[in-house]
C-alpha cells in the first residue's frame, strides 16, 4: 500500500487577501478513508476543489499516485467528485447520468452496460434507471451521485459534505453504508465535513483544519484523546478548559498549578515547557464522575447543579464548583436530574484524564 498516494506539498490558495488554504503539506494513503474536518470557512472545501481541479493553487504542487496533477484540468485527473448538492443533471435520467462520464473512456457497449449494472447494484438503485432527478428522494439522489462518480473507477473519490442534506436517521445509515462501500471497493476516499461525529465515526484518519491550516492530523481516537491544541480539543467533542500554569517537569509528567484548585502532576504529552502561564487543562465532561458522596479520586470537588439537560442515553449537568467562578459540564449515564437533593453533588476528576494544552 502506497503511504504517499496523494501528496499535498506546500499548497496555498489565496482569494485576494484571503488565505483559504495556507501552506499545507501532508500525504494520504492508498485505500484510506480520509476526512477533512473543520468549521465553515476553514479551507477544507477549497482543498478538496484543488484536488478536483476546480481551483488551481497559488503555491505548491499536488501528486496522485506519483504523477503531478497540479496543472491538470478536472477532466484529465484520476479523481471524481460527489457534490454537496449532488448535481444530478436534471435533463437526463438516472441511467444517462451514470453513463455520462463513461463516454470518454473508450469502452464498448457491453463494458458500459456491465459497469452501469454493477454500480447500480453497488448503490442499491436497480430499477431506478428511468427516473429523473426530480423524482428521487435525497438519499436516492446521493446514491446516484455516488454511482456516477464510482462508475468511472477513479483512483480517488472526493466527497464534499455529501450527507449534509439528509435527515439524521438517513445520515447515520449512509455513514455506515459509505464506510462499508469504501472498504469493499478499496478506492481512496477524501471526505469533507464540518460534522466531527461524522468524521470520527467514518474515517481512518482525520485532518482538522482551521484558518487554512491543518491543526492536527491523526486517527480519530487520537484526535479525541490526545488533542494537540486548544482548537482541536474544543472542536472535537465537548470539553472544559481550566486556566493553569506549569512548574517543574518530572519525566514525562509536569507539575501544574490549576487556577483555584491547587497544584497537581499531570502527563505532558505535548512537551510543554516549564514555567509557562499560557496553558490550559482540558477535561472531557464524560471523563468526570458526578456523585452524591465524596470520592477518593485525585480531585474531588463539591458543586451545585445549575442546570441539567436530559439527552436520553446520558444527562448533562452544568455545575458550579464552590470557589470557582466557572460553569463546568459533566455528563453521566447513571444519574439524572432527579438524583440529587438540594442540587448538591460532588464531581471527581482523575489526573490521567487531564490534557495539558498550550495557548496560541
Amino acid at each position: 500500500m502506497n503511504e504517499n498516494f496523494i501528496q499535498i506539498n506546500g499548497i496555498s490558495k489565496h482569494f485576494g487577501n484571503v488565505k483559504a488554504v495556507d501552506d499545507v503539506s501532508f500525504s494520504i494513503k492508498e485505500g484510506e478513508f480520509f476526512s477533512l474536518l473543520g468549521p465553515s470557512g476553514c479551507g477544507k472545501t477549497t482543498l478538496l476543489r484543488l484536488l478536483a481541479g476546480f481551483e488551481y493553487p497559488t503555491n505548491g504542487n499536488l501528486l496522485i499516485d506519483g504523477s503531478d496533477i497540479t496543472a491538470l484540468p478536472p477532466d484529465k485527473r484520476p479523481t471524481n467528485m460527489v457534490f454537496q448538492n449532488y448535481a444530478i443533471f436534471p435533463h437526463i435520467n438516472v441511467e444517462q447520468n451514470i453513463k455520462f462520464g463513461l463516454r470518454k473512456l473508450g469502452l464498448t457497449d457491453d463494458e458500459i452496460k456491465k459497469r452501469v449494472d454493477d454500480v447500480l447494484a453497488l448503490v442499491k438503485l436497480e430499477g431506478y434507471e428511468e427516473r429523473f432527478s426530480g423524482q428521487l428522494s435525497g438519499g436516492q439522489r446521493q446514491r446516484v451521485a455516488l454511482a456516477r462518480a464510482l462508475v468511472r473507477q477513479p483512483k480517488v473519490l472526493l466527497l464534499d459534505e455529501p450527507l449534509g442534506a439528509l435527515d439524521k436517521k438517513l445520515r447515520d445509515e449512509m455513514q455506515l453504508e459509505l464506510r462499508t462501500l469504501q472498504k469493499e471497493i478499496g478506492i481512496t476516499f477524501v471526505f469533507v465535513t464540518h460534522d466531527q461525529q461524522e468524521a470520527i465515526s467514518m474515517s481512518d484518519r482525520v485532518a482538522v483544519m482551521s484558518e487554512g491550516k491543518i491543526q492536527q492530523l491523526s486517527a480519530p481516537n487520537e484526535l479525541y484523546k490526545n488533542p494537540e491544541n486548544i482548537f482541536v480539543s474544543d472542536f472535537i467533542g465537548e470539553t472544559n478548559f481550566l486556566k493553569a500554569s506549569t512548574k517543574s517537569k518530572d519525566g514525562d509528567h509536569i507539575n501544574v498549578a490549576i487556577e483555584d484548585l491547587g497544584d497537581f502532576k499531570v502527563k505532558n504529552n505535548l512537551n510543554i515547557p516549564e514555567n509557562s502561564s499560557d496553558v490550559v487543562c482540558s477535561v472531557r465532561p464524560e471523563s468526570m464522575m458526578i456523585s452524591r458522596d465524596k470520592s477518593d479520586w485525585d480531585i474531588c470537588l463539591e458543586a451545585k447543579i445549575n442546570q441539567t439537560s436530559y439527552l436520553g442515553e446520558m444527562t448533562r449537568f452544568y455545575v458550579e464548583v464552590s470557589g470557582i467562578n466557572k460553569v463546568i459540564t459533566v455528563s453521566s449515564q447513571h444519574f439524572d436530574n432527579q438524583s440529587f437533593e438540594n442540587n448538591t453533588c460532588f464531581i471527581s476528576i482523575s489526573l490521567e484524564d487531564i490534557s495539558l494544552l498550550q495557548k496560541k
Binding site: 478536483a52 477532466d75 457534490f83 443533471f89 435533463h91
Partner: protein
C-alpha cells in the same frame, strides 16, 4: 344585491376564483376573443364593391389568398425575414448572456440595464434612427464617402430586405436577452463542474449540459422574437420600401387603401395560423433536440 354577492362568494371556491378573475376575463374577452371572432367572420364574407359587403359565408377568400402568388410569396418572405432575424438575435444575444451569467462577477444588473438602455426609447424612434444610419445621406454612407472608400452612396442599404432584417434584429434584441439571461443564470454552476469532473471538455460541457439546460430560455427567446417580427409592419413600411415589404403591409392595405376587408381578414387568419404552427413545431423540435443531445 351586496348580500347576494357575498353568499355566492363564500359558497364555492369556483365562484370565488371566477369572481377574482372576472376583470381579467372581461378584458381578454373584450380585446382578444371578440376581435378574433370578428376577424374570422369577416374572412368568410365577400367584398362586392367599395361600399358593399356580401355577408353570405364562404371559404372563397382563403382560396383567393393561395391563388394570388403575391400574397403567398409575401407570407413566405415574412416568415423568412423573421426566421433570419430570430437566428441572428439568438446567435448574438446568447454569447452576451452567457458571458454575463458566468463570467461577470459583480454588477450583473448594471450590465443588463446598459444592454437594454437603447430600448428605453420608443420603437418608432429606433426604426427612424436606422433610417438616419442607413439612408443615402446617412451616417454610414457619408462616412464611407468621406473616407473615399466609395464614390457613390450604397443604395441597397436602405429600402431592402437587409435593412428590414438589421432594424428588426436591433429592435427586438432586448427581448431575447432577458429570457436567455434568466435561463443561463439559473443553471447551477455545480452541473458544469460535475460535467468537467466526469471527463468532458469545456466545449462538450456546453453542448451536453449548458445548452440543453438553457433551452427553455432559447425557446422563449425564439417565440418572443419570431411572433412579433413576423407580423411587424412599421419597420417594413418605413425601412423596407418595395423590396422589404412583408405580408402585414399588404393586410394593412386590404383594410385601408385597397378596401377588401374580407381578403385582409383571411390573410390575417392565415398568418396567425402559420405563426401558431411554427410555434408548435419549434417547441416540439427543441424538446426532441434536448433528448437527442443528451
Amino acid at each position: 344585491m351586496f348580500q347576494a354577492w357575498r353568499n355566492l362568494y363564500s359558497k364555492s371556491d369556483n365562484a370565488k376564483a371566477y369572481s377574482l378573475l372576472s376583470p381579467a376575463l372581461f378584458l381578454i374577452i373584450l380585446v382578444m376573443l371578440i376581435p378574433m371572432a370578428l376577424m374570422l367572420s369577416f374572412s368568410s364574407f365577400t367584398q362586392v364593391s367599395m361600399m358593399e359587403i356580401d355577408f353570405t359565408p364562404t371559404f372563397q377568400r382563403y382560396i383567393d389568398f393561395f391563388e394570388k402568388s403575391l400574397l403567398v410569396s409575401l407570407l413566405i418572405k415574412s416568415v423568412k425575414i423573421s426566421f433570419i432575424v430570430t437566428l441572428i438575435t439568438l446567435l448574438t444575444a446568447y454569447p452576451v448572456c452567457y458571458y454575463i451569467a458566468f463570467y461577470v462577477k459583480k454588477n450583473k444588473m448594471l450590465w443588463l440595464v446598459l444592454l437594454t438602455l437603447p430600448f428605453w426609447t420608443s420603437y418608432l424612434l429606433r426604426v427612424f434612427s436606422w433610417k438616419i444610419i442607413l439612408g443615402t445621406k446617412g451616417v454610414f454612407n457619408s462616412t464611407l464617402l468621406g473616407a473615399g472608400i466609395i464614390s457613390e452612396p450604397l443604395t441597397f442599404l436602405m429600402y431592402s430586405e437587409e435593412a428590414v432584417i438589421i432594424t428588426l434584429t436591433h429592435a427586438w434584441a432586448a427581448f431575447a436577452l432577458l429570457p436567455l439571461y434568466v435561463s443561463l443564470e439559473k443553471i447551477d454552476f455545480s452541473y458544469i463542474e460535475a460535467a468537467r469532473d466526469l471527463g468532458l471538455s469545456k466545449f462538450e460541457v456546453f453542448w451536453k449540459v449548458t445548452f440543453p439546460l438553457s433551452l427553455p430560455g432559447v425557446i422563449g427567446a425564439i417565440l418572443i422574437i419570431f411572433i412579433p417580427t413576423v407580423g411587424d409592419y412599421v419597420t417594413p413600411a418605413l425601412i423596407g420600401g418595395t423590396e422589404g415589404r412583408m405580408l402585414s403591409n399588404m393586410i394593412q392595405a386590404y383594410f385601408g387603401k385597397i378596401n377588401n376587408i374580407p381578403l385582409g381578414a383571411a390573410s390575417a387568419t392565415i398568418m396567425l395560423t402559420t405563426v401558431i404552427l411554427i410555434t408548435a413545431i419549434v417547441s416540439y423540435t427543441t424538446k426532441r433536440l434536448t433528448q437527442r443531445l443528451s
